[in-house]
């Protein structure tokens, strides 16, 4: 699941902070991870000469932020066992037999209750 999510994470980071988004493939809505500020954001702007060092730190922190974002996304995203798409909690229904995404459930005419509203 983690690897699936990390492959779906889209990078919306800026030079100041790290933020990743995941898009629900059913409703199309983006979910954004909590932004984590880049620890050297202020210094990086002042010291252009240390750019390489800061770039390295940036990359390292970004990796860490990406992991955190994946963990965060794990709370909200499921994979539909039928269509294999990544869906948000609002689009993921708990049905009697099997948990399905909203569209698959509609196709199979399965009633269900969304995990989150």
């Amino acid at each position: 699941m983690t690897s699936l999510l990390s492959s779906h994470l889209e990078d919306c980071s800026t030079s100041q902070y790290f933020c990743f988004s995941v898009r629900c493939e059913v409703c199309g809505e983006y979910w954004y991870s909590s932004s984590i500020p880049f620890s050297k954001a202020a210094q990086a702007a002042q010291h252009q000469e240390k750019k390489e060092l800061y770039d390295a730190i940036y990359q390292r922190e970004k990796e860490r932020a990406k992991l955190a974002a994946g963990q965060e996304a794990r709370e909200r995203f499921s994979q539909c066992p039928v269509c294999r798409r990544l869906v948000c909690d609002a689009c993921f229904l708990i049905c009697d037999e099997m948990d399905l995404c909203r569209e698959c459930a509609a196709r199979m005419k399965e009633p269900g209750e969304p995990v989150a509203t």
Binding site: M1, R74, S78, I94
Partner: protein, 530 residues
């Protein structure tokens, strides 16, 4: 000192080490709380002046009283003065008329009883009228003449008339009897008056200080100079009185004599009764002040009911904020005084004052009463608060102690005990769980375990496929956090499933669920769950 401190510290440490009951501790907190609040309230009240209120109140009452008394007294004395001045004017006209008619001067009346008698006969109706109308107990007139100049006492013996009321008392104030105190007895016989049993023909002017001086110096008009004498003992009687001395001034300025009214101590006492108030009975005093001392022996004192004054004391004045204190040596009085001008043209060494006095004992009794009320109320409040704190502490501690007792008696109900305090319940549950675990570890099984298992296994059929999946993960020993990765569902979904799993299986927590699974595994019935 340092040793003491050390000891104290050691004591404190010892006290800290001592295990104290919960209730006592709680009680201690409550009590200290209450004491602090109580102290704050007392402080606030004392700042707000709740305790000095009675002094202020006393001050107000006394000031009012003094004002009233002074007004009364001043108007009384003023009226007497006015009547005496009137008397003096009329007497001088009559005397002059008679003298002119007879063609003699006043000096020639000396040693002439007939002329004196004549003069006194003229003067009598005036004096009598003054006595009847004025608010006093006696009226008199002294002529600057004597019946016998040859006598040794002739230089301070003067002819005159003095009428006074005899049977003054509080019980029969309406019909006093006029008695003849000084004067030629023929008039008494003519007017059918009783002679005073200490009757005398003439006045002894030495008894009246200032009288001689008044007669000897010429004046323009009587209002120029008059005075009230200090209290003097009436010669030969037990009574004492103050005399208003007004000169009888002739046309040419010669002073024919002195006339006026008399205020006896008894009369004053009857006129100014003591006023009973909530602080004690207040006595009215009219007395001269000398060197910040009030000379009661020279003045008049109202009714002294309820006090120990006898009218002879000399009181030392101590000024106070709300009231003055008057020290009589043995007794103390509190009150207020105010100077009052009653004489005119007199040497200014005597200042007269009107005063109101209350025995300090009675006021002290009053304030003590008030204080007692406060103290009792405060103590009552304190006791009520303490009782309340005791009650509350007990109420708070009771369920805890009860449940602790039940722990000690090893009667741990399976369903958890409900003491009404969540911490205690949790502790109970924890102990229960531990006890159960211990038993399990010792290989024991709870008695109704088989039944429980059956129920559990049966209930498992209620689960949906997805929930069963998750349960399987648990059985395989996975943690909740692993499940999203394994089942490709979000954590929220897992939680949601968890809730319904717990609900359907009738367990309260994951621990309980794991306990069931563990037990089933031990019993080898785990496959029933699949």
């Amino acid at each position: 000192m340092q040793n003491k401190l050390k000891e104290l510290r050691a004591l404190n440490a010892f006290a800290k080490k001592q295990s104290v009951g919960m209730q006592r501790k709680l009680m201690l907190y409550w009590v200290s709380m209450i004491l602090v609040v109580f102290a704050a309230v007392i402080l606030l009240l004392s700042i707000a002046g709740a305790f000095s209120q009675s002094d202020e109140q006393l001050h107000e009452v006394m000031e009012l009283h003094l004002q009233n008394t002074q007004d009364n007294l001043a108007s009384h004395l003023d009226r007497l003065t006015a009547q005496s001045l009137n008397l003096s004017k009329e007497l001088s006209r009559e005397i002059e008329g008679t003298l002119v008619q007879e063609g003699i001067s006043l000096q020639e009346v000396n040693d002439d009883p007939e002329q004196l008698l004549k003069l006194q006969q003229i003067m009598y109706p005036l004096v009598n009228a003054t006595l009847q109308t004025a608010n006093c107990n006696g009226a008199y007139v002294i002529l600057d003449a004597t019946a016998n100049t040859t006598l040794p006492v002739s230089d301070h013996s003067r002819s005159g008339l003095h009428l006074r009321y005899s049977n003054l008392s509080a019980s029969s104030p309406v019909t006093p009897t006029v008695v003849y105190f000084r004067g030629i007895p023929d008039i008494a016989r003519q007017k059918d008056l009783e002679l005073h049993n200490r009757w005398n023909l003439e006045f002894d002017t030495d008894q009246i200080p200032g009288c001689q001086e008044l007669m000897s110096s010429p004046l323009d008009r009587p209002a120029q100079r008059y005075f009230w004498s200090r209290r003097i003992d009436l010669k030969g009687t037990w009574e004492s009185a103050m005399l208003l001395c007004v000169p009888i001034v002739g046309n040419d300025g010669t002073v024919y004599g002195v006339c006026g009214v008399e205020l006896s101590a008894l009369y004053f006492q009857l006129s100014y009764p003591a006023v009973e108030g909530q602080f004690g009975s207040a006595v009215t005093v009219l007395a001269p002040i000398q060197d910040s001392r009030l000379l009661l022996s020279d003045g008049l004192v109202g009714s002294v009911n309820g006090t120990y004054l006898d009218g002879q004391e000399t009181l030392t004045i101590h000024q106070g904020r709300y009231y003055n204190e008057y020290d009589a040596g043995t007794d103390r009085y509190i009150g207020l005084h105010q100077t009052i001008p009653i004489s005119k043209g007199e040497p200014a060494d005597t200042v007269w004052a009107a005063a109101i006095m209350i025995p300090q004992d009675s006021y002290a009794a009053y304030t003590a009463e008030l204080q007692r009320t406060w103290v009792i109320a405060a103590l009552g409040l304190l006791v009520v608060l303490l009782a309340l704190s005791f009650f509350l502490a007990r109420r708070f501690v009771r369920p805890i102690i009860d449940s602790l007792k039940r722990f000690q008696q090893e009667e741990l109900p399976e369903q958890g005990l409900s003491s009404g305090i969540s911490e205690v319940d949790e502790l109970a549950e924890f102990l229960n769980a531990r006890a159960r675990n211990q038993r399990l570890e010792q290989g024991e099984l709870p008695p109704n375990i088989a039944e429980l298992f059956d129920q559990f296994v049966q209930r498992k059929n209620l689960l949906t496929e997805a929930e069963r999946n998750i349960l399987r993960y648990y059985i395989d020993g996975h943690e909740i956090a692993d499940i999203p990765d394994l089942a490709f569902i979000s954590m929220s979904t897992v939680r949601k499933h968890n809730r319904s799993i717990y609900e359907k299986l009738g367990v309260a927590s994951r621990d309980e669920l794991m306990l069931y699974i563990d037990l089933l595994r031990r019993c080898g019935r785990l496959q029933e769950l699949f």
